[in-house]
């Protein structure tokens, strides 16, 4: 009796197990699966215009002026608007809440004419006074409260270094800003999503209250925020641009693990997924229910050489590193061809890019010659810092480091790969503790200054110039370019700057990558923006 019971039980278990195993063994990858029945995915027609956007991290705040991380801007760019906008696919300056603008001859006065009849989500009128209140709020703050305001506009109200002197309203629809000195990328800075115009009624209730209850003029209104889980925004039915937005709702869902995010996209649980590994791009392209989007590149991945640490204090050694590394193999192996080889510290899409520069070819023999010329014919030993986290500009730091290690071994240099947890890595690198380190940068406003000055000028040693590279000629050029309002003259200055950097070789520039986003086939109107913050007002399900 008892034996029979056990047999029955065992048989059951066997059945369950074999079903599971059969499931594991079934053929995959044809993407012919039916979507989950109770996912509520009926995207045919306009029955359900709810978009679920899967991403790697949650926002820190919903007040874009108070934070520095991209996950916040991805959401706020849809809640708020700025006086000026970037172009749909680039960082050209376009009308935003200001329909026209005018610059004085000396570059010190900017006059903005505002859109009329615009209201904030809470019913407050958008007008010149509201703009003034926003700028006053920032100018009366401090660097730890409004970090971007201080880094883009030089400082606050009484700071001698500040760029913005006064912001005044003239009537209801005109705002005049005066500057203490000309600032070439001023209009681009104004278009950055951190300088979003918020409802004064809302932020006057207190900053801490406001960052959880955002009120702007944007195409979507805030609904709810479940920390580390979802942020939900819905259609602003009173939006001033006729016919927009097309979606009823957008839900930003946090899925930290890249593979899990891809699984969720394949499964239909989310409609868009950013941070797709280059290796998974083909899979999405091959799936007839999905489409792959490429974000225009506005980044650079590089190997920095700390010039204060011998032997990288010698120019020949730094150049030798440039000849020694086989960039093409790295691009083919780890970027799946979705990146361009880099020769300058900024991508070609940025105004002022010097295309006349001749890239260092892969030439180990030449590298050995240069080492010999520097008195290092027998090579040397060094630490090679590998990035511990995937970033858009560096999908797999550890593996790329192994290729570089092999390349260096070929010229007699012994590289020991070291890695630290990300915050530690940045902290130690900024103190100049690395011999050579992998790092990268994604631009904020599409301006050359935001790459070259931020990453290689002596003013930024100790913050973003981790190489400790210092060059007086370069510094002069970069400072001059900051106030040069004539576009052609300014580009000329940057071209000269890139020549110096190329010759001096504080970096081995590696790649300008194209970040990937996967989406459902039925999505239309989605255009990934190079800044990484995508405006979703034109997106809809067909």
């Amino acid at each position: 009796m008892k034996k029979r019971k056990l047999w029955a039980f065992a048989l059951m278990l066997l059945l369950v197990l074999s079903t599971a195993l059969a499931a594991c063994g079934s053929d995959s990858g044809d993407g012919e699966k039916k979507p989950d029945g109770d996912k509520g995915k009926d995207n045919a027609g306009s029955a359900n215009q709810t978009l679920v956007f899967g991403r790697g991290g949650d926002s820190t705040s919903l007040d874009p002026s108070r934070v520095t991380e991209g996950e916040t801007f991805k959401v706020t760019v849809n809640l708020y608007e700025t006086l000026l906008n970037f172009g749909e696919e680039d960082t050209t300056v376009q009308p935003g809440l200001a329909k026209e603008w005018d610059t004085s001859e000396d570059g010190l006065t900017y006059t903005f004419t505002l859109q009329e009849g615009v209201k904030f989500h809470d019913g407050t009128d958008f007008n010149a006074e509201a703009v003034v209140k926003n700028f006053d709020r920032w100018a009366n703050g401090d660097a730890d409260k409004f970090p971007y305001y201080s880094s883009m506009f030089g400082g606050f109200k009484d700071d001698p270094e500040r760029v913005i002197d006064t912001v005044t309203a003239e009537g209801d629809n005109t705002v005049v800003m005066t500057l203490t000195r000309p600032q070439a990328p001023f209009l681009k800075n104004i278009a950055m999503s951190m300088f979003a115009i918020a409802s004064p009624t809302a932020f006057e209730k207190g900053d801490d209250e406001f960052e959880r209850n955002p009120v702007g003029t944007g195409p979507f209104k805030f609904v709810e925020w479940k920390p580390n889980e979802t942020i939900t925004i819905e259609k602003n039915t009173d939006y001033w641009q006729e016919g927009l937005p097309k979606l009823d709702k957008v839900i930003f869902k946090t899925i930290p693990d890249n593979s899990a995010r891809l699984n969720e996209l394949l499964n239909g649980g989310i409609d868009l997924a950013d941070g797709i590994n280059p290796a998974d791009g083909k899979r999405i392209e091959g799936d007839d229910k999905l489409q792959l989007f490429e974000r225009p590149s506005m980044n650079v991945g590089y190997l920095g050489l700390t010039v204060t640490r011998p032997p990288f204090d010698k120019k020949e050694v730094r150049q030798a590193m440039n000849y020694a590394i086989d960039k093409q193999t790295i691009l083919d192996s780890f970027f799946e061809g979705r990146a361009d080889s880099a020769k300058n510290p900024m991508p070609p899409s940025i105004s002022g890019y010097n295309d006349a520069i001749e890239e260092y070819p892969y030439d180990p023999e030449k590298a050995k010659e240069l080492l010999a010329a520097a008195g290092l014919a027998d090579g040397f030993e060094m630490d090679l810092w590998a990035m511990p986290v995937p970033r858009p500009y560096m999908p797999d730091g550890a593996k790329v480091a192994e290729v570089i290690q092999k390349n260096l071994a070929d010229i007699g240099v012994k590289a020991n790969i070291v890695s630290y947890e990300w915050a530690t890595y940045l902290d130690k690198a900024s103190k100049g503790e690395a011999d050579a380190f992998m790092l990268g940068w994604t631009g904020d406003n599409g301006d050359a200054d935001n790459f070259i000055y931020v990453l290689l000028d002596e003013d930024n040693i100790g913050s973003n110039n981790y190489t400790y590279y210092k060059n007086d000629d370069l510094h002069k050029l970069l400072i001059e370019a900051q106030t040069e309002v004539d576009e052609d003259k300014r580009n000329e200055l940057y071209k000269q700057a890139q020549e110096i950097i190329h010759e001096e070789a504080p970096w081995v520039p590696l790649a300008h990558s194209t970040p990937l986003i996967g989406g459902a086939k039925e999505l239309t109107g989605y255009v990934p923006h190079p800044t990484g913050s995508d405006l979703l007002s034109n997106v809809e399900f067909q």
Binding site: K253, E264, Y420, E421, K428, S463
Partner: protein
Amino acid sequence: MLSYIIKRLLQLVPVLLGMTFIVFLIIRAIPGNPAQVILGQQATPEAVAALTAKLGLDQPWYIQYFDYLGGILKGDLGDSMRTRLPVADEIWPYLAATLELALFAIIIAVIVGINAGIISAWFQNSWFDYTAMILALVGVSMPIFWLGLMGQWAFALELQWLPTTGREEVRDPITAITNLYVIDTIIQGRFDQLWQVIRHLILPGLALATIPMAIIARMTRSSMLEVMRSDYVRTARAKGQKMFWVVYKHALKNAIIPVLTIIGLQMGMLLGGAILTETIFAWPGIGRYIYEAINYRDYPVIQSGILIVAFIFVMINLVVDLLYGLIDPRIKYD
């Protein structure tokens, strides 16, 4: 009994105090300035210095420690540096998410583990015994993240039976009351949503349950085998008792004590395993909350988060100790 509980609770004070001290020192030994991390790569050195001062990080460590301790005694767990909210206010939803998942996992682990162990012991050296023990060995050795991704691939992608990530169907969000979604949906009478919550629990729950399930099964088996050889079991058999009752009533009672200890320890381990599971399954729980706080160097959150987890851990141990007495009256508390 009551005096025993009070004594035990008093003993907790130095344990938790020592723990806050150790955690405090360890996280400050990690390189990386929270102010720098919060302000990002763009920050000017002046801004970093200003925020460092504002957060009180320029004070000597012992002053910082006593400030923190003083706060705790007043019931103030500090404010998160990143979100600027009091930790005490923001921690509950994360804790609730983890508790729901961990309870689900431990229930599965206990039910399956104990029964598998009993059957293995009952039919020692049968093929069931061998199969169960091999599976247990595999289960113990399986990395959670691999198991989790495989589970997603098999049941969510290939079979389309279960959802991949999260706690709820985001297109039909649940209104949080207690933040324990099983309870919230029942309160609101939304049984369709309750079904969704359970479906979301299954994959991460199983991934989290695998290791404790295997450990409980092995412990139960060895403990049962020992008891089955004892005289009183033979006596019960000789009296003509049904084997089923002998095993599940007489033998199990004595065999369960060491298993309880293991279950208590495993519940503590679950809180650790939760970090990986929560990352793979995008589960907004306390493991990920603390993990992200470590990445951001959010000191108050790391300190208080670990303090709360430790508190839960020691409370579980206390409950286990009290259960011994209920099961085996010979165990005395004095």
